[in-house]
Symmetry: C2
Subunit: 424 residues, 2 copies
């Protein structure tokens, strides 16, 4: 199905200021369209987090008090309806803010995070030490928990709560469909890239590509899915087998020996075909045609609470995970120039564009502008989207190499990582 | 517990011949000892695989007919008794041979493996084509299966069958304990390294380290273990919680908020401590002290069918996997010199020796011998073992840096990857 958005959206109105001498004009989001509907959604925000311990209910300025600011970009690739992507673009950063509230003081204190907090939030100055007293237990060692891992935990739980909210509200508010979510949080000098789905983030630094995410598809998550089907066979409803076969088995092949692999295997072996092997495999197909339960091609994301197997009442949601994988990039560890960028794109971009091609486009477009011209990043996002879309020619949208352009929604964020000090 | 073997074992009697111009004297296995018992076992073999289709029951010469030869090295680090390691060292390669029997013709045929085989093995010349006839099914694509992945599948299934055999025979034959298994199969120009446990294999090529395995410990497999505990809580027997905490919780801390993470999280977050959180965590501790169910420090291997939680009847085996991860190295893709080696070691080596230190020892020892002196590899294995063991000084076994030597069994295989053509 070819659904390509008509929306051309540039978030230039978001005047984000970075604290570390980075570019002022940070954001270019562009959706290039071939058709009327675009299920992608995007969001960028500066979010202020007030600690739970603040007595006053009123929000304080970031510069004063103990609050924290984070910068936020989210890209949501919807499917089976735009409701989930739209809801996530409105609310996910609020869930992240809520999760960070407990951490406002802890993250600004260089000492290791307290392992235990008092039961009632709001008691100031009672964070650590005293709550760890008592005799040393038999398991005496303590695990070191980093500040980074608290932010990662906050983002992970925010994704889960967002997903739960979609479940609660799906009847009243028409939260139809689901969405992949790719989110960037910039907090206290570090960039957290959280990905649940098949969008992708890369950093292009000094012309080199640094992957910042992995895709979650029926192929990359095959063993997790098969293990779940094996441990909870009731989820397969007598319609599916947790085994994978390299092609559909024909009933007349019963008794022959077919290649298969189970949840423990990465290699293939032959097994005698039995009656239950004629069920449809839980995971089948390759590349863009890979599917879970013959239905969905991504295995992580938000929503999809109503998604059922075609012509069946079997729910697919139990096999989908709402949890992102979070990668951390310490901006303070490297010198960045104005041509260093973080690029987020939905699969519409990456299906037809390699990481290296994106890096080449970054070089080509940015070098055509002055380093301090903020419109260069919007031009880059536009070039990436239009390059993946192609132009109408020979009865189709064609790329510069004459291959077919992406038939999917295409959305791209370009986030500059460096820039002249005058931007600070 | 410090159990270090007294056994000094050099497998120089194994005169392995490589087919591709590699070294004739291929093997040095050495166990250096501080005490009487050594639970490590080692094995190296040349194994001939006769295809199932052979009519004659007698084995044929490798040079004639359709049989296959593979070269095999296995390192088995036993725990809680030496029975499992001893049994694996005698039998695992036979299980691999058995699994490869179906593949003898397929692996020697450059065309893609047939997806389906006839039901009765032994009918010659009926491997492919005809068995794939019939109408194209609705899921029409076929997955490409490589020859490599068939060998990987064969090794994986051989590990599983070895583990099952230990389960059947554990009462009659005293197969006490369990073992990590690190196995190398050299077949048709490729090196397959299969690891289940915390042993490690590296290639040192041109002085550089190429990791050939990953360790499987409560820390590296935390999420798999927690997921199993979450999905099958009966395996935790009201004694354990699938949640991880950074330290043991005290009963008086009920109601406070403690850092935790579950099977979905890589980060940490705070949760209110409830009664069931006072159970012991399924996974606890760090580094060499990490444990599953407070008992075992490795999460993959063979055996352990009788292993129970201390002072309990709760079995631990359901959480342990017998499946190895298999990495493939194509020997024909690189030029190898006589100083290029594959080093296998049990954790006794790696606990006190880094990959780079091993590479430095490879350089130091091998450069002291003529390139065509086969005893250089035995000397290298010996140097690695003795270097990790240390020498008695200051009331302990000390390394050259005065740190304590390994308190564990130490076993090392050195397998040369290149050599003068005259060895072929």
């Amino acid at each position: 199905m070819t659904i390509v958005g008509f929306l051309f959206r540039s978030c230039q109105e978001s005047q984000l200021f970075w604290r570390h001498g980075l570019a002022r004009e940070t954001v270019g989001v562009i959706n290039a369209g071939k058709s009327r509907h675009n299920e992608d959604q995007a969001c960028c925000e500066v979010v202020y987090v007030e600690g739970r311990r603040s007595v006053s209910g009123a929000p304080r300025e970031p510069s004063r008090g103990q609050g924290l600011c984070f910068y936020y970009w989210g890209l949501f690739d919807g499917h089976a309806g735009g409701g989930a992507a739209e809801m996530a673009s409105r609310l996910l950063h609020r869930h992240i803010r809520e999760q960070l509230k407990d951490l406002v003081e802890i993250l600004q204190d260089p000492s290791p995070p307290p392992l235990c907090l008092p039961s009632i939030p709001g008691a100031p100055g009672s964070l650590d030490g005293p709550h760890l007293v008592g005799p040393q237990p038999s398991w005496s060692s303590q695990k070191e928990v980093t500040h980074d891992s608290l932010v990662i935990g906050a983002i992970e739980n925010a994704f889960q709560l967002m997903d739960e909210q979609m479940a609660w509200e799906r009847h009243g508010h028409q939260v139809e469909g689901g969405c992949c979510a790719l989110v960037v949080v910039y907090l206290l000098g570090k960039v957290y890239v959280a990905n649940a789905g098949d969008s992708r983030a890369i950093i292009v630094r000094n012309g080199e590509v640094i992957p910042m995410s992995r895709e979650f598809t029926p192929e990359t998550e095959r063993q997790r899915l098969q293990l779940l089907g094996f441990l909870k066979p009731e989820l397969l409803g007598n319609e599916f087998t947790h085994l994978e076969f390299p092609r559909r088995i024909q009933p007349k092949e019963l008794g022959q020996r077919m290649l298969y692999r189970d949840q423990n295997m990465t290699g293939w072996a032959y097994k005698k075909i039995e009656l239950e092997d004629l069920r449809f495999p839980l995971v089948c197909g390759e590349g863009k045609k890979a599917r879970v339960m013959a239905t969905i091609g991504v295995t992580r994301g938000l929503g999809d609470h109503n998604l059922k197997v075609c012509s069946s009442t079997l729910p697919i949601k139990p096999f989908l995970s709402c949890f992102p994988e979070v990668q951390v990039y310490d901006l303070t560890q490297y010198e960045h120039c104005p041509d260093d960028v973080l690029v987020l794109g939905t699969d519409g971009l990456w299906d037809v564009t390699s990481d290296c091609e994106v890096a080449a486009t970054v070089d080509r477009v940015l070098s055509a502008y002055e380093p301090n011209d903020p419109s260069r990043y919007t031009a880059l996002a536009q070039a990436l989207v239009l390059g993946a879309r192609g132009i109408p020619r020979d009865r189709g949208w064609r790329l510069s190499n004459n291959k077919l352009g992406s038939g999917d929604d295409i959305s791209v964020f370009v986030i500059p990582l460096g820039g002249p000090g005058s931007y600070s």
